[in-house]
């Protein structure tokens, strides 16, 4: 990858990587640092990383940097109990919910997920990655990715228990 291709990657992928990391960390400055570190690593490996593999490399690097970031902040182990719905919000049956609220609820539900489930679901929904690609990024095998996604989806469904909330 030469300088022009690298700069092209900045234009093409920096926003997507930033959104993915920001959604996981919820900290814009830390997210910017992580994205910057990912690009620095890619530039350092520019001799071996091709332009075609750049996006996957960036997401993989950013993901692992983010894991280190979580570990440093000792926040990675915090999760949310799938079976415990005491924290779920159950709106009244006749309560109307706007689209903005739906988005807020979805974001709240996402924040309740364990980091791994959150990451794989974001990679799946944001970037449309396949199970195999998500596995390459997260270091999981395809079956593990599938299990995490399934668990995450069911947890989201359980979180949004009231059908009137979104329909």
């Amino acid at each position: 990858m030469d300088r022009q291709e690298y700069n092209r990657c900045v234009e093409l992928y920096s926003d997507a990587v930033y959104r993915f990391i920001l959604k996981n960390t919820a900290d814009s400055e830390d997210s910017a640092d992580i994205v910057q570190e990912a690009f620095v690593r890619m530039w350092e490996k520019s001799e071996t990383v091709s332009f075609e593999k750049a996006k996957s490399y960036l997401f993989t690097s950013a993901y692992h940097i983010m894991i280190d970031y979580f570990r440093k902040k000792k926040r990675y182990s915090t999760g949310f109990d799938m079976e415990d719905d005491s924290h779920c919000w159950h709106p009244a049956a006749n309560e109307k919910t706007s689209s903005f609220d739906i988005k807020a609820i979805l974001n709240e539900a996402l924040d309740k997920l364990p980091p791994m489930q959150k990451s794989v679901i974001l990679l799946r929904d944001y970037e449309g990655y396949s199970y195999e690609e998500i596995g390459e990024i997260t270091g999981l095998n395809e079956s593990q990715v599938k299990v995490y996604i399934y668990r995450g989806r069911i947890a989201l469904k359980n979180f949004i228990k009231s059908p009137d909330l979104i329909l």
Binding site: R3, D15, A16, Y18, Q36, K157, I166
Partner: protein
């Protein structure tokens, strides 16, 4: 061993007829020493339906019919199956089964709608704020140094092309004029000496010689004035008029061009720049054409806007500057990566 923990199981087994004689005796012995449990034993027996009633009890016909038609394969729509359906991970057969199950179960249909709605889309409004910091650019200091180097080289060439060439020609012409003037003065002196020497021999010819010398001196004075004017007229972009040069054979363009080679530099420079720019369709002019143009430029018959190339020298200057900047940038990029 019967205890307070398992006595109820033994009581149930007793009424079901599952206890042996010894086990029944043991149960009775236990109940004798625990009269409160014996009452419980009796109440449990009274609560049991009569055997005769059980014999007459029959299952409903609908239940029997349903049991007879139990399919060989029972499809249970689990949450995992529903998620797999939403993720489009199922084969065609299973998809059909899921859709049939969903159609029969409104609750599962609702679950599927929730699953489908709980999808996340990237917010395009969120953009990485420090994108410019990520871009890799050439280090400015080193580039400027190289750019200055090439710019200086280009400037030197164009100084030669635009300024030094006409100026040297003027100087050459002036020197030649001075030389001619000196030669003519010498001729005049010689003529005067000859006239003086011959005055005694041929006084009749003296008047004619003085008249001729006087005309020559006047002409030389004019030439001297013109030379002085020419010296002041060293404007780089205004060549000297050809008529003045034609008066002296020594500074005729035909003689000068044999000793000059600046046009070769210009020609080579433009060739090099066009090659660097990879613009093969640009007419650069032949060497002879540039030679003729150089002669014409000295004669005042050519101008800077009438070069053998498609581009003027001023355009070449602009071209060269940009090309030098690009060349320096690319060279630096390679050198940086080689480190």
């Amino acid at each position: 061993m019967i205890s307070h923990k398992n006595y109820m199981e033994r009581i149930v087994d007793y009424y079901d007829g599952k206890l042996s004689q010894s086990e029944s005796d043991a149960l009775m012995a236990f109940l004798e020493i625990n009269p409160e449990l014996y009452e419980e034993f009796m109440m449990f027996g009274e609560a049991l339906p009569e055997t005769a009633a059980e014999d007459t009890l029959k299952a409903p016909a609908s239940l029997i019919e349903q049991l007879k038609n139990i399919p060989d394969e029972v499809f249970v729509l689990s949450d995992e199956m529903l998620v797999a359906y939403a993720e489009k991970d199922l084969d065609a057969y299973t998809i059909k089964k899921v859709e049939e199950a969903i159609a029969q179960n409104p609750q599962r249909k609702r679950d599927l709608e929730i699953l489908s709605a709980a999808r996340y889309e990237a917010d395009e409004a969120i953009a990485f704020p420090y994108k410019n910091k990520l871009l890799r650019r050439e280090p400015i200091v080193f580039s400027l140094r190289r750019m200055m180097y090439y710019t200086s080289a280009a400037a030197a060439i164009f100084i030669l092309a635009f300024f030094l060439w006409p100026a040297v020609n003027h100087e050459s012409g002036i020197q030649s004029d001075s030389h001619n003037i000196a030669e003519m003065n010498l001729q005049i002196t010689n003529s005067e000496n000859t006239a003086e020497n011959n005055s005694e021999k041929n006084s009749g010819n003296n008047n004619n010689s003085h008249i001729q010398n006087s005309d020559i001196a006047t002409q030389l004075a004019d030439n001297s004035t013109n030379a002085s004017k020419n010296h002041e007229y060293i404007a780089p972009l205004s060549p000297r008029p050809a008529k003045q040069l034609k008066e002296t054979a020594q500074i005729a363009p035909g003689n000068i061009e044999e000793n000059r080679n600046e046009y070769i530099d210009i020609y080579n420079y433009i060739e090099m720049k066009n090659a660097a720019l990879a613009e093969s369709n640009v007419k650069t002019g032949t060497l002879n054409a540039w030679k003729e143009w150089g002669k014409g430029f000295l004669n005042g018959e050519s101008s800077l806007t009438d070069t053998p190339a498609d581009i003027t020298l001023r355009d070449v200057a602009t071209f060269s500057y940009n090309n030098i900047a690009q060349f320096a940038s690319e060279s630096l990029s390679l050198s940086q990566r080689d480190r």
